[in-house]
């Protein structure tokens, strides 16, 4: 505890604290601009840290990280375009809530539960890092495959009213992710001789295109002009826009989402892009009122934002305890450790205790800075909506293109953005739900890679899952989810039939 306190105090020494405020602010801006994200911000500012001492450098990078992940909710809520892949699910309820006139409540909910989500993840990191890292090591191909199957089964939850279209959407997402070299043996698929497709479609331009372009076209058609007549309807038109009672009512939802977020963060290879949508689908599944999801309720925003921020703490666990980066951001941070001559791993808690606890402290301090900046920023953010749509939307498109281009300084990513925007338009026109596409897209590679490895290692024997308790639990959960979905579909049809009769 005293070490953590020392870590927090270190964040206030010298230039560190002002740099952290700057880092969080820049991170929020990067997160809020569709296409740009925390990993780009960290990669861009990494060279600046070369001349800093390690404590200041990591505090600054952590601040960029926290700001970048939290900033995504701003554009997700206000313009229905996810700023980052971590905030895709925030659009599902954030945007309808804003359109209903509760802009302050949507942003306030996202901000507060992002704050709590980070705290949850960081507490897990501080309390159980070595233990959880050991647990994460138990996850082999069988467990990853079981998680992928379980997660894909949640497509049925996100399918919406029309199950066939929902499943089709999920499969389209999986198919799109198969473009490029195949996992395991690396043969090109569906590239048709175009080498630009060898690496597949990048996640950011794909998601931003699918969400941004339909929104821009809708706005051109004048269908968005009614957006937010009143930004702060209801009795809680100040502060964060919701009451304490409403906040405490979200406790179960928050704990479940934060646990999912942290769990996903711990597992290398999966990040905030997956955790937010998985938490959303799970909370919808266990909710007493799943039909209200997507209409603009707090639950949806809480699920998404708690999970994506809890992933931050989770992702630091394998990074610090094992030296394994869980996602792109922690991979860049691993580079920062290397530049400073530090090798993360089990020994780091003993060899660089001060630095480790400063990182813990910086996560907490940056989180608090994020809460304060976003609280005061709400009034500024909602003013964006007062800009006429015919002026705002063309600039959003320009920023989306810049964001897509920045992913790898490649014009192909801008074409990807356009292509998926057009696909998104067609699918929206024919009322295909978009959430299953996202889930299918982010999970496809994990599913296929681990399916093939599982068959390799087990020599095709399914019975191997009986000897892997963690995998077995996920498979049983999958069967339960599918059973519940089938039963509710049959019941729904029966009720419809009775009504018709």
């Amino acid at each position: 505890m005293s070490m953590l306190l020392q870590g927090i105090i270190n964040c206030f020494s010298g230039i560190t604290f002002p740099l952290m405020i700057f880092g969080v602010a820049v991170g929020i801006i990067f997160g809020a601009i569709p296409g740009l994200n925390a990993s780009i911000a960290i990669a861009l500012f990494l060279p600046l840290t070369y001349t800093m001492n390690p404590i200041t450098a990591f505090a600054f990078l952590v601040a960029l990280h926290i700001g970048g992940v939290s900033g995504g909710l701003v554009s997700a809520c206000l313009i229905n375009i996810p700023g980052t892949s971590s905030s895709v699910a925030t659009t599902f309820d954030g945007s309808p809530m804003v359109k209903a006139g509760y802009g302050r409540k949507a942003l306030g909910t996202g901000t507060v539960f992002s704050f709590f989500g980070t705290i949850f993840g960081v507490l897990c990191l501080i309390g159980f890092a070595p233990l959880l890292a050991k647990f994460a090591l138990k996850f082999g191909v069988y467990e990853y495959l079981a998680i992928a199957i379980f997660s894909l089964s949640l497509i049925s939850v996100l399918a919406g009213k029309d199950m066939v279209k929902g499943l089709l959407a999920g499969l389209i997402g999986i198919l799109v992710a198969m473009v490029g070299v195949a996992p395991v043996d690396g043969f090109a698929r569906f590239t048709f001789g175009n080498h630009a497709l060898d690496g597949g479609f990048s996640l950011v331009p794909t998601l931003v295109g699918m969400f941004a372009i339909p929104e821009i076209v809708k706005s051109a058609q004048g269908k968005n002009n009614a957006t937010v007549i009143s930004l702060s309807k209801g009795e809680h038109s100040r502060g964060f826009g919701f009451s304490l009672k409403e906040m405490f009512a979200q406790t179960k939802n928050f704990l479940l989402s934060a646990a999912i977020g942290t769990g996903i963060g711990i597992l290398p290879g999966i990040g905030g892009g997956t955790s937010n949508i998985l938490a959303y689908a799970t909370c919808k599944r266990v909710s007493k009122h799943p039909e209200k999801y997507g209409t603009g309720i707090m639950d949806g925003i809480v699920a998404s934002e708690s999970a994506n921020n809890a992933t931050i703490g989770g992702a630091f666990i394998p990074l610090l305890a094992l030296g394994i980066p869980g996602d792109v951001i922690t991979a860049v941070l691993l580079g920062a450790f290397t530049i400073n001559g530090i090798a993360p791993g089990p020994q780091i808690f003993e060899t660089h205790t001060v630095l480790v606890y400063t990182i813990f402290g910086a996560l907490l301090v940056a989180n608090l800075i994020m809460l304060i900046l976003e609280y005061f920023g709400i009034n500024v953010f909602v003013k964006i909506l007062k800009i006429p749509q015919h002026i705002l939307m063309p600039f959003i498109m320009v920023l989306c293109c810049v964001g897509a281009y920045s992913v790898s300084n490649n014009i192909f990513d801008v074409y990807t953005l356009l292509g998926f925007g057009l696909l998104g338009l067609i699918l929206q026109k024919f009322e295909f739900p978009r959430p299953p596409i996202v889930l299918g897209f982010v999970l496809a590679e994990m599913f296929e890679k681990n399916l093939r490895r599982t068959i390799q290692f087990s020599k095709g024997k399914i019975s191997v899952f009986l000897t892997r308790p963690i995998a077995l639990v996920f498979l049983v959960l999958t069967i339960l989810i599918l059973l519940v979905t089938v039963i509710s579909q049959v019941r729904g049809r029966k009720e419809k039939f009775d009504d018709d009769v």
């Binding site: 066939v164 043996d185 698929r189 076209v217 939307m393 293109c401 810049v402 296929e448 093939r452």
Partner: protein, 183 residues
């Protein structure tokens, strides 16, 4: 012409499903061209895409059957109620589409300008393409009463330049400079 438009809008779900089905079939056939060696897992790189495509083809056929059933029952319903002049055909899903036509034009212009913008981004360069796109969009979609050409031109040029300079000079992301290569 109007009759053709009406027929297209009536069968648009079926037409769309048919196009998607054709794409899936073509993609399935193309899986035969995926290079493969004897994979140690017995599956190889063709297996998963084929399974996914078979599921997509199957589900699309189910979707087409559902849509056909819906159209047939809508037709029956239409015939039954044809005597009653007060019954408005606009209640049926397929007849909603013509109502959207006034907005469709703006939507189509928006889509075309988006495509042109992205395609011209490299040859013209970020600044020029963005300025043209932004000004065109603002001009077309503002409505006559809100149209302020001077403001739109100033905003378009000013903000696009600011974005370009921030990315190029501060963040060192070299956006395409196109024909303005001196920038």
């Amino acid at each position: 012409m109007k009759k053709l438009q009406k027929s297209i809008s009536k069968f648009r779900e079926l037409i769309m499903a048919f196009i998607f089905l054709a794409v899936y079939v073509v993609l399935y056939i193309s899986t035969y061209h995926i290079r493969s060696i004897a994979a140690s897992d017995g599956l190889g790189p063709r297996f998963t895409p084929r399974v996914v495509l078979i599921c997509l083809i199957g589900l699309t056929i189910i979707l087409m059957i559902k849509e056909t059933v819906r159209l047939v029952s809508a037709k029956k319903h239409e015939n039954r109620s044809s005597e009653d002049a007060t019954v408005d055909a606009s209640k049926t899903k397929e007849d909603k589409a013509p109502k959207e036509h006034p907005a469709l034009d703006k939507g189509t212009i928006s889509i075309i300008s988006l495509i042109l913008y992205v395609l011209l981004l490299k040859p013209l360069g970020f600044v020029l393409a963005s300025v043209l796109y932004v000004i065109t969009q603002m001009f077309f979609f503002s409505g006559k009463e809100k149209r302020k050409p001077v403001l739109f031109i100033c905003l378009g040029i000013g903000l696009c330049l600011v974005i370009y300079l921030i990315f190029k000079k501060v963040m060192y992301i070299g956006l395409p400079s196109g024909i303005l290569s001196f920038m």
